[in-house]
């Protein structure tokens, strides 16, 4: 089976009281691709997902197309899109195998084909020994794997996931990210995945759609969105961004706290934007900063820094060497870590 191609054309959503949940959105998800809708709560990502599912209807003029077929007017049961929820939404009166096979039963698969398909998915989800269990005897992670297997079982080629990992604790979440992506890819399904968790989005997505207040702020591959944010909003969504203003002359950047070589950078006034992990703490001949706060986080520590002109930076340093407020450190910048916004350096200012 193969994934479906999804296209949204001019899909907007206005509630009866006049609130605009979603401004007109155009989006294309290629067959077999995992696209993550990312943003804070209320940004419209869930509304968009519900439109694709058939649980919400877009405003007049909006169209939802699956493999080129207009499904805008079709109810959820006629669309062929599997759904996975944060609450798992497993059927409590059915066994694990019963849950996974439910869609096949509804769609009239023969007993033999059904059993084969359920066995295949139990194996993919590493749930073979739980086939006969009640779902309330499973852990959260196992339940979510059942839910995903159930959604994938009919092979409809399109999976919608609404914050599937949000109810799980942090350790489990990280392990399941990779597993969920692998299960979806193994089945060749196209997936639209909603989350507010940046790390989850960056790990799982072939492409990310960053949303803000009912609009798409940026669409791109995880590295693109992370290193080439087109707006302050997108840059800030993935964590703090440092900005140092100064002047470049002959490949050397001069600022209040010192000078740094920046080969290839054009002469003139400029702002260097970089994330905390691109700062190289303790680099010889770097910029001089004073530590105002050091936060030990285990594998790394977060340093809050202040320069002679009052400029502030956040830098990540390895955890092993202790720093205290008042220490003076030298800071270099990894040239590969400089944010190069697609709209030009100014866009990050």
């Amino acid at each position: 089976m193969s994934g479906k191609e999804l296209r949204l054309q001019g899909c907007a959503k206005t509630y009866p009281d006049g609130t605009r949940a979603l401004s007109p959105v155009d989006l294309r998800v290629d067959a077999g691709e995992i696209v993550v809708l990312l943003g804070p709560s209320g940004c419209g990502k869930t509304t968009l997902l519900r439109m694709v599912a058939g649980l919400d209807r877009p405003d007049e003029g909006g169209r939802v197309l699956l493999d080129g077929r207009d499904v805008t007017a079709l109810p959820i049961e006629k669309r062929g899109v599997g759904m996975v929820f944060q609450s798992y939404a497993l059927f409590p009166h059915m066994s694990v195998a019963g849950n996974i096979g439910y869609g096949l039963r509804v769609q009239g698969w023969s007993r033999k084909r059904r059993d084969e398909r359920v066995a295949e998915l139990l194996a993919t989800a590493r749930l073979e020994e739980f086939a006969g269990r009640r779902v309330d005897q499973l852990s959260g992670g196992q339940r979510q794997r059942v839910a995903l297997a159930r959604a994938l079982a009919p092979g409809s080629g399109m999976i919608l996931l609404d914050e599937p990992l949000t109810a799980l604790d942090a350790g489990l979440r990280e392990g399941l990210r990779a597993e969920i992506a692998a299960m979806i890819k193994a089945q060749g399904a196209t997936a639209l995945y909603v989350t507010h968790d940046q790390a989850e989005a960056l790990t799982l997505g072939d492409r990310l759609v960053v949303m803000d207040k009912g609009r798409i702020a940026q669409v791109g591959a995880p590295r693109d969105v992370y290193y080439r944010p087109q707006s302050d909003y997108v840059a800030g969504f993935f964590g703090p961004v440092n900005r140092l203003s100064g002047r470049v002359e002959h490949g050397v950047f001069t600022t209040a706290s010192g000078t740094l070589p920046v080969p290839g950078r054009p002469d003139g006034e400029t702002v260097l934007a970089f994330r905390p992990e691109a700062a190289i703490v303790g680099q010889d001949g770097g910029l001089a900063f004073r530590v105002t706060n050091a936060l030990f986080e285990g594998s790394r520590q977060r340093l809050d820094l202040e320069g002679p002109a009052g400029e502030r930076l956040v830098a990540h340093a390895p955890g092993i060497r202790p720093y205290s407020p008042g220490d003076t450190v030298t800071i270099g910048i990894d040239p590969d870590g400089l944010l190069a916004p697609a709209g030009g350096a100014d866009a990050v200012n």
């Binding site: 599912a53 058939g54 649980l55 109810p75 959820i76 049961e77 669309r79 062929g80 899109v81 599997g82 759904m83 929820f85 609450s87 798992y88 939404a89 497993l90 059927f91 409590p92 009166h93 439910y102 869609g103 509804v106 769609q107 309330d136 839910a147 159930r150 959604a151 079982a153 009919p154 919608l160």
Partner: protein
Amino acid sequence: MALVTWAYLVYLALPIALLAVGSLGESWTNTLLPTGFTGQWFRAVLDDPSFVRAFWTSLRVTGTTCVVAALIGLPLAYAAVTTGRQSASRVVRLLMLVPVAAPEITLGFGFIIAFSTALTPWLGSFSLLVAGHVLLTLPYLVATLMNDMAALKLGEMEAAAGSLGAGFWRRFFDIIVPVSATSLLTGLVTVAAISIGEFQLSNLIAGFLDRTYPIVLLQAFYGATGFACAATVILLVLSLLTGTAAATLSAATHRETPA
């Protein structure tokens, strides 16, 4: 703290204990406790045709009330929970408060006025009695169902079933009914417990031939104490049975609710 609890329990149990003692005592006049031991009072109640008739009427009213309440309550609760509109759900919850909050006697007088006109001459009929009981008990059933449906996230279960290709009726019988079954049963036992002991409204609107057990029970207190006690104990046992069943089922529902 323990003292208060014990005092309360004694206060709660004492009248019930006295009723039980009184129902088995041979004679009870001007003494602290009755004298003698007898089963004659229970036999007398069972031999009294008006009590027997009222007992069966009560069971009929309660049974019919349960069926009607289920047929109205399940779709109503389902619609209110899954509409997706907070306001609709709130309106239902508010409306359901009216029969709970309004004194039953006002409902009773309302019924008397509304159903004794030439156009609506139903006062005293069995159907109107059942309608009254449905009105009084429905809020408890709907509240139970709505709370459980929301806690179980029935809406998302239904969406999941829909996404697998199940149309409305398929979802209704495959998911909604089985998932709500325990909750429905819990609610219905509450309905039965309320309906079986209901006095105020029934006393005002029941016809002479459709008098329920609690109405007839009131008459018993004009006669022998032992007879009155025995008749009361019968009602008490019936109510306690339904009440216990309701509590047990409710605990079972909450065990099933996913964490």
